[in-house]
Symmetry: C2
Subunit: 590 residues, 2 copies
């Protein structure tokens, strides 16, 4: 993998931008932002400066021109000192890598040769009797460096961040073994976040491609990454991703556990699953999707559905339950799971294994039966100070979207809701980034804290780089539309800055302030490629005579020349022409 | 232009489809539908047929394999006999073509050479004292052939169609001089419709390209077309489009009027405008956007806006009003306009000249002041039995969307609302088909009758063919999501058919039932191109072991083999293992 390519890409993706850091209360709290330069406004009154505009930045050190990326070494461990200073963790030898972790028979394999070379440190875990979750600290009233980092990032007070985490209304996914990650928060009272799924499958893809997708997705704004890999090299793929990821990484551990039993669900055991949790916790996964709410007695509720069970994890657990008519071991062992999670600060993201996979199945008994169980499990997790998210559907028509958030918040006491889409119709494979961005914007507006992206390839194939970009930007659109609608105080500033640039024909600023400057520029240049067109006071849509914005400027200049405001100018004009207006006045002004 | 190309395209765009016609009460009422063939379901019980599925079809005769398209001759006049049978119209010599109609100095020009060769008939108009609007007939209790055609198309009763039109809650845009058009209806109690804007500008495009965009847009599902051409050849471009369009064509006549005065708004006069209305009515335009609500006294309300006036027509009229401090002539002459419209059955679509062009300006005083005036004008139009639509914004954050529909319905007495988007954020040029599909789905859900598409090029450039397709499909998604949410009885059938096909691994059926089968197939084949993968019981996303749908089938087959339903099987299993369950039962089942 090349090392410096990322920096070069950054410049073409985001021209006019530079990386800046907001300094916190201690030297090592440095919150990244992307600062967009603006050109001045030219008007009848002369030039007026437009201040540089700062945006939330998920892209990590790769976009810092002073940083030399080397994916074989991984990112710097910015949180190590914070974690060690708390004096509640210990290094230990760890579980060690086993051949079956990546699907091989012996250690003498490709997997070992490809294993990540850069990690020199041993895994950390909580000292005996200690709890290292951010929720635990928050409940003790401690403002951690992570909390302060997030407060600066979200432009709220550290106390507010702490209170929301203590309350369980927000989570900070921050495994102590992923000290490379930049702290971020997921909760209804913060910016709506976007997750991007990546991962190879038994059928396609490779480690390099997945790491590249991760840096690519975070460049465009993904706030977390889920590695949903299956098949060979699953451990190694994850190691490369985590060591190079500036954002928290989530997984679905049952996928790897199933690989370890050759895909035969009935052979899954609690021991294999438990071992997989520890394996992944030691690597630094920050949240686990756990399908603990798929109970045996709920499975029959899915038999009359149009699309049955559409969650991989849900179907695996349903299959396991039926094989021996036993209750879901994720449910029966949930307290033990919590004991593991709190040793590493892995958040639990309760999987919605019985989510609807079609409009016909939306908001049905199976779905809500599982949600009730998730409410019960949330309480157990919180008893352990384990941070919780609740996953949601899926396929939901618009008028039933709000009920999903409201129920989740009600049943799970406002634990952050994290939804896939939802898709608002089934009839557009190839466009499911759009069918679902519609649902995502709506569900975000009503309080959903994180949106799992859907790419144009959903239902059809694995996303390539272009699909990842399309999916992430579509979801940044949905998340931002939701932030505006829920009244996030900072959200509209960017809309206003871009619209002002648009109105003032500052084309370059309009492009640079957008979510995807590269595409905006490219689309503009398809019809008007000349450099002069980037300062033109019209564009290819209307041409100069029909440009409403040019005409509006003329109107304003007219008022300016008269030295009065427009209302007065009109009033004056009306008086001058009073006789004329009186004649027809009764018709015009009623 | 080639003649038969369209038919070939159709097959690749919609494999598995054929054109069928539903026969009405008279031989010449033949309602087009696209019928999608489905393969049978294979299950443990053997094979089961899936009936062919019919969808609404806007593509016109081009997609009929028995039809030979010749764009130089235009489409057949399917409504001629219906119109003549009513015995209330007369042929007349018409206004004739003037050189300035297409922006030339004399008749000895390219324009004349390119003029449409196929139209042999003279223009029609209402006989003296007669009114030929569909609203007029509906109010007289007459069920026209157009009404019956629409009833079959929408699967409702003709009486219902008539009542909605009489009430003003729906319109049938059907100029008597566009007898080639297939009747369709726009109203809140029918399928949500999609309009596609096309048109060249002074800067780019050509007649051929615009005609091609029209056939292309209607192929993918556009219900009406607006020709927003400016610049040279405006009359000729429109002639070619109308003669070949199976859907109603709308225009903004002020654009052409402005061309006739060389783009100098202050030179516009009522006479020039009036003459342009007649010119276009004779050609067969079915609805005119008229910015009659932009009153002089509203212009100052826009001066503090972030983006001022963003409607071309709005800015032209504001500029005209200010030039001499006169009231908008579209307002002062509106009764005379109605006299023209009812002679040809041109519907009026009241332009929202003061619509917001940014989130900051949404739902402001200027916008709602204009809307109040539109309410007043609606009553005048209805007095003449002139059909009315109300145009709406623009740029609106999600939480303010519903207020727009509610106010429009309230103030304009439920005249059909027709919106551009709205875009729910300003920050994503290049993705405005998505920022606006979100708003469009929401506003459609709340009762908006037609959605004007936005392409990815919005704010950046003129759409090409790919952009038109992307825009139309994005809006078909929004319209369908709205139909589902507002509870249109027929809408969910297609979702159910597609989801059933998906669940049963009928890949070809899944593609063919989708809005864009060609793209669905192409995306699928990017990862699994082999023909066998179209019958595989898994796909590239999860591979065979992780396929939730395969596992669900296994679960169902398991129950089937046991000869009982799953709930009973589980119950039975539970009893067999009762002792084991009793031991841990109190924990599992509370």
């Amino acid at each position: 993998m090349s090392t410096k390519e990322s920096n070069i890409d950054f410049k073409s993706s985001f021209p006019g931008s530079k990386k800046v850091y907001v300094q916190g209360s201690r030297a090592d709290i440095q919150v990244p932002m992307r600062e967009i330069k603006q050109s001045p406004t030219s008007g009848p009154q002369g030039e007026e400066e437009n201040p540089p505009f700062r945006v939330y930045d998920t892209s990590g050190p790769y976009t810092d021109t002073d940083y030399s990326a080397d994916v074989r070494q991984g990112l710097p461990s910015i949180r190590s000192k914070w974690i060690m200073d708390r004096d509640d963790v210990e290094e230990y030898t760890g579980r060690g890598l086993k051949p079956e972790d990546s699907g091989y028979q012996s250690v003498d394999t490709q997997d070992y040769q490809d294993h990540f070379p850069g990690l020199k440190r041993k895994p950390l875990r909580a000292k005996k009797g200690r709890n290292v979750t951010q929720m635990h600290y928050a409940r003790k009233g401690i403002i951690t460096p992570e909390t302060e980092f997030i407060a600066l990032r979200e432009q709220v007070s550290p106390e507010f961040v702490r209170d929301e985490v203590a309350r369980g209304r927000a989570i900070i996914p921050a495994n102590i073994n992923h000290s490379e990650s930049e702290p971020m928060i997921i909760g209804r009272n913060f910016h709506v976040k976007v997750n991007a799924n990546i991962g190879n499958s038994a059928v396609t893809s490779s480690i390099e491609k997945e790491v590249e997708k991760m840096t690519w997705a975070t460049r465009w704004g993904a706030d977390t990454i889920m590695d949903l890999s299956t098949g060979k090299d699953i451990h190694t793929t994850r190691e490369w991703i985590i060591r190079n990821s500036p954002v928290p990484v989530g997984t679905v551990p049952i996928y790897q556990a199933l690989e370890k039993v050759n895909g035969e669900a009935e052979k899954l055991t609690w021991d294999i699953y438990r071992d997989t949790l520890i394996e992944q916790a030691e690597q630094g996964v920050s949240y686990f999707t756990i399908h603990a709410g798929v109970l045996l007695r709920y499975v029959p509720l899915t038999t009359e559905r149009v699309t049955g069970i559409v969650s991989r994890g849900g179907s695996i657990m349903a299959s396991w339950c039926l094989a021996d008519h036993e209750e879901n071991f994720l449910y029966t062992h949930f307290e033990e799971i919590c004991e593991i999670l709190k040793m590493y600060d892995v958040s639990v993201s309760f999987g919605d294994g019985l989510r609807p996979g079609s409009i016909a199945d939306a908001n049905d008994d199976a779905q809500f039966a599982e949600l009730n169980t998730l409410g019960e499990l949330t309480k157990i997790a919180w008893k352990h100070d384990v941070q919780v998210m609740i996953e949601g559907p899926g396929h939901i028509p618009l008028h039933l979207v709000k009920e999903n958030v409201d129920k989740a918040h009600d049943i799970c006491d406002e634990a952050p809701f994290y939804t896939l889409g939802p898709l608002t119709t089934d009839i557009a494979p190839g466009y499911d980034h759009i069918t679902s961005a519609i649902g995502a914007a709506n569900i975000g507006w009503h309080g959903t804290a994180m949106l799992c992206y859907v790419t144009p390839k959903e239902h059809l194939g694995l996303p390539n780089k272009d699909d990842v970009r399309e999916g992430v930007i579509s979801y940044k659109v949905a998340a931002h539309a939701a932030d505006l609608a829920k009244g996030h105080p900072a959200a509209q500033k960017r809309d206003n800055a871009l619209s002002k640039a648009r109105f003032e024909f500052r084309w370059r600023d309009q492009f640079n302030l957008s979510l995807d400057p590269e595409r905006a520029l490219q689309f503009h240049d398809e019809t008007l490629p000349a450099e002069g067109a980037k300062t033109a006071h019209f564009c290819s849509m209307c041409g100069p005579k029909f440009c409403s914005m040019r005409i509006t400027h003329d109107i304003r200049n007219y008022a300016h020349e008269k030295g009065v405001d427009l209302a007065t100018a009109i009033e004056k004009g009306l008086k001058e022409k009073s006789q004329e207006f009186r004649d027809s006045g009764s018709k015009i002004y009623k």
